[in-house]
Structure formats: C-alpha cells, structure tokens
C-alpha cells in the first residue's frame, strides 16, 4: 500500500451532519479523475462505486496494481468516453482507499478509528461527494452513474440535488434494500465479527486481521453476484486438479477453489470494518421510506433524464426492483428510459464486458450530450 500517498484527496473542512446525528469535519475524500473538464464545464460525469469498489474506476489501480473496477466501461472511446467526458470517481466515506473510514488513524490514539467510526448512510456518502462539485467549480454535472450501491447513490444524489445532473444512470440497483439483500449482508457481517481476530473491530491489521471472516463474507457475497446458469456453465461439477473425489474437505470442485481464491485476494485489498460499515449503509437505504412511502416524491423536483438498466439473470437486484423506480418516475411524468439487458452473468454483469450494455450506454450518453447542446432541452 505504498502508493497511498500519491492519491488525490479533497479535505472537507466544513462540518457534514450525518443521518446518525453526529457531525464530521476536516475529513479526507479520496478521488480520481479521467479525461479533461472542458471550458464550459458541462462534460463532467460523477461515477459512484459499489460495495467493494474505489475511486480507481479505470486504468491501473496504483494500490492494487490491477485494472480499475470499471475498466470495461470507462476510458477513451469506451461507454463513458474519457475522450469526451471528464469522469470523477470518489472513494465513499466509510471506505478504505483513502477516504475517511474506520481504517483512518485517529491522531489522538494513533490507532484506527475502528468501531468509533459513525454509522454512515448512502445519503451521507452522497452529501460528502457533492463537495466535489464545488471543488471543480462545476455548476451542473452532465451525468451521475453507478451500478449496485453506485446506483443507489445515483438515486439519492438526484433526490438530494434535483438540478445538479442532466442525466442519471442507475444500473442494477434498488430504491429500497430488500430483506434478502439485508440477509446476505448480515451473513457477511456475522462471518467477520465471528472471526476471533476481529477483536471487536480493534484488530491491528498485522498480527491480527479477520482474514477468515472477511474471506467467507466475500465468498458468500460473490455467489450472489453470479447466476445459477452462469456458475453451472463455468464450473459445473468440474474437479479441481484431480481426477476423482478425495473424500475430504479440500477443494475438490473447481467452484470451491474459485470461491476460496476470490476470498483470499479480497482480504489483501479490503478492510473488514469498512465492509461492516458499507454493508450497513446499504441495508439502511430506503429512498421510498425517506419520502413517506411514495418513491415518486424523491424525484418530483427533478428535470433529470433517467436511464435505468437491469439484467435478466440478476437475482440480487432483480428487474422488478429496477422497474419500481421506472414506475415511480413514470407516475410523475419524468423523462425515463429503461431496458433489461439479456445476460447469464448475474448481478456482476454491470462490471463485465457485456457488449449490448456498454454500447447502449455509450450511444445514449453521446447522443444525449449532443441533443442537450443542440436542442437545448
């Protein structure tokens, strides 16, 4: 993690009132940008990351040395064409890639804040990232976009700041975290908190780190990101580097080995306490409840053009939940487009090379940018 020092970061000095009642100030928000902001400052797109993402949406992540999480979508000539648009992506507060989170060192104790970090919400995350507009002196974003938890932030952003984005792209998300979503997140949290090395959140990250718990959390979550058909086609009952069953509890099957690998690489790049805090923020997300049970009210003041995308094989944030957002928008005559993309890749589709998905976004953004400038809509 030697490249941490090279990261761009905005120090937010003024106090930010959180949903939990506490106030934070003088805290860092780490971000990255791609492409150039034009003179009119009308080509900026704010991208929100998902649960385990970070600000490094594209290129090579300097900390992990791996490709950015949305490398398929963000870059020159890609869906979010950084040859045309200025893409900003920030690490959410509560995260572990340089923004204020449970891993931030408390100067008074010289130890991580850990569980003294306040419980944050999607609303808090969005309000913190809104400060980036002032920082870049952007009056109005061209677009806000994101998948999964990123999509929830898109919805919250438009609800909080109805006239600060011309286009909103919430992808594979929901306006209200379901019981099933909460259940899976709770499973992950329990796995972490049951790890003896979690130590009530006070692990030191060196001698003690809840690797096992965090890995199990990741394994369970990873299953929810894939479809049954996708898993069956990729792994089936194939055995892992053996010709027969071994009558033991090693990874006999390729799927077991795959999940174990996913778990093990995850603990190298993610903080267990961040996982607790961010999953909690997702569980608390209920935009419908925020508006007295009427989701339409969340968008009633907005002139934003919405483009909502879901995936056929996504059972974590299924089409029906995405369609609820479409219905709420249609109920108030908002400008909304919606398509369900056919794919076997499950919830993960939004991160993968799904050509239909990527080309539709690219064309939609490019055409809409031109239309807004020419027709002045």
């Amino acid at each position: 993690m030697s490249n941490f020092g090279k990261m761009k970061s905005l120090l937010i000095k003024e106090p930010l009132k959180l949903d939990c009642g506490k106030e934070i100030s003088n805290f860092p928000l780490a971000y990255e940008t791609y492409g150039n902001l034009n003179e009119k400052k009308d080509n900026a797109i704010l991208i929100f990351h998902a649960l385990t993402g970070d600000q490094f949406a594209s290129d090579i992540n300097p900390v992990t040395n791996k490709e950015g999480w949305w490398n398929y979508a963000v870059g020159p000539g890609k869906a979010f064409d950084t040859g045309k648009f200025f893409v900003i992506c920030a690490n959410v507060i509560g995260g572990c890639m340089g923004s204020y989170g449970p891993g931030t060192i408390d100067p008074l104790t010289n130890k991580p804040i850990a569980t003294n970090f306040p419980v944050i919400t999607i609303n808090d995350m969005v309000n913190a990232q809104y400060k980036l507009l002032d920082h870049f002196k952007i009056e109005k974003l061209f677009a806000v976009a994101g998948g999964s938890m990123g999509g929830m932030q898109v919805l919250q952003f438009v609800s909080n700041f109805p006239n600060k984005a011309k286009v909103a792209l919430p992808i594979a998300c929901t306006a209200s975290h379901s019981a099933q979503n909460i259940a899976f997140n709770e499973l992950g949290r329990q796995a972490i908190m049951s790890d003896i090395n979690w130590k009530d959140g006070l692990y030191d990250g060196k001698t003690f780190n809840p690797d096992k718990g965090l890995a199990v959390a990741r394994m369970a979550a990873h299953i929810t990101y894939l479809s049954k058909k996708g898993l069956q086609e990729k792994f089936g009952r194939n055995l892992q580097e053996r010709s027969d069953l071994k009558f033991g509890f090693d990874a006999d099957f390729q799927i077991e080995s795959y999940l174990r690998y996913q778990g093990s690489v995850f603990v190298d790049r993610f903080d267990a306490n961040s996982y607790l805090y961010i999953t909690r923020a997702m569980d608390y997300f209920d935009l419908t409840k925020q508006h007295g049970g009427n989701l339409s009210k969340a968008f009633k003041d907005s002139k934003t053009k919405f483009f909502i995308i879901s995936f056929t094989s996504d059972w974590l944030y299924p089409t029906s939940e995405n369609k609820d957002i479409v219905i709420a928008l249609n109920a108030i005559g908002a400008d909304v487009g919606f398509v369900e993309i056919k794919t076997d890749k499950g919830h993960d589709s939004f991160l993968l090379d799904v050509p239909d998905f990527l080309s539709t976004i690219k064309n939609y953004l490019n055409t809409t940018y031109l239309n807004i400038n020419e027709r002045r809509i």
């Binding site: 398509v339 539709t360 055409t367």
Partner: protein
Amino acid sequence: MKEEFKVISELIDEKSRVLDVGCGDGILMEYLLKNKVVDVRGLEISKEKVKKCLSNGLAVVEGDAEYDLKQFPDLSFDYVILSQTLQAFMSPENVIKDLLRIGKKVIVTIPNFGHWKVRLDLLFKGEMPITKNLPYEWYNTPNLHMCTIQDFYNFCNNKRINIFKTISLNGQKTSKITSSNLKFKNLISELGIFLLEK
C-alpha cells in the same frame, strides 16, 4: 409509412406530451421531435428495438402494453399513439381502455382487413391474405385480432368512445371517413387512422 406519420403529426398540437405505445425503432418519435415541439415518450416490448431507441437518446421504456400501461397515471399525456399494433394484443379492448385513461386524446391506426385486396384473396384463393401491411403467414403472424375499419368504428360506437376524426390512407392518398362513406372507405383504405376521446 411516412404518410401515416404525417397524418398523425398533423393531429397533434404543438407543445403537447405524447406517448407512443409500441414505438418500435422510434422512427415516429424521431419524426415528431423533428416536426413538432413535443415531449415524446415510448413504450416498446422488443429489447433490440428499445436499445436502438435509447442509443438514439429517446426516452423509451421496455415493457408490454398489456401489463405496463397501468403504471401511467390518468390523463398523464395529451396524446397516446398506437400505430398498427392493436391487432397484436391478447386483449385489444383492455388496451384501448387503458389508452383512453392515460391520454386526453388517443390516436389509433388500424391496418384494414376490409381492404378489397384482402377480401379478394380470401374469396378467390381461399387462403389467408398476405399484403404489404400484413406480411405474415397465418401460422406465424403476431396479429391475433385482425379487424376492419368498420369493425373498429362499430367497436367505438358500442363502447361509447368518441371518434373525433377518422382518416383513410390509401397509398399516398388521405381522405376523411364519415358514417355515410364508411362502407366504401372500408373497401379502399389500407389504413384507418382514428382520433379518439373517452
């Protein structure tokens, strides 16, 4: 096709909100945006066509009119258009009911099964007719409920739906349909265009 769009466009007032149900590739929507100052939305069942529309920046929602019209509030559009799609629904009656609920005015266009060529085909060949507007075989046609201009006219009268205007389209030629020339127009029109209100 162009002629139909022209007629539809002329029926629509400037600065109105329009919903194109079964908007296909969005060519009518594009036509309206080019020729009128309107706010136009689309509903389309085919994923491929929805993607095409969205790629062109059109506000189109993927959905099935028989289920998804419910989500639109009463009188939320000035005009709702249903262009040559009514015959493909399981329940055309319910769809028309929903259109009249959503739109202050409704424009429905009907490929006319009463056209003389259609009648001759069945009379002389004894086979289900295949025409320019109805290019399918009986076993693969998406058209479940074919009707004639006269059928639809009678339907509106029976259901007490107000018909403001009925226009006949035959090739490039348009003409008015009235109760007195209905029988004749039903014989020579390829397409009937109806402007309705509840």
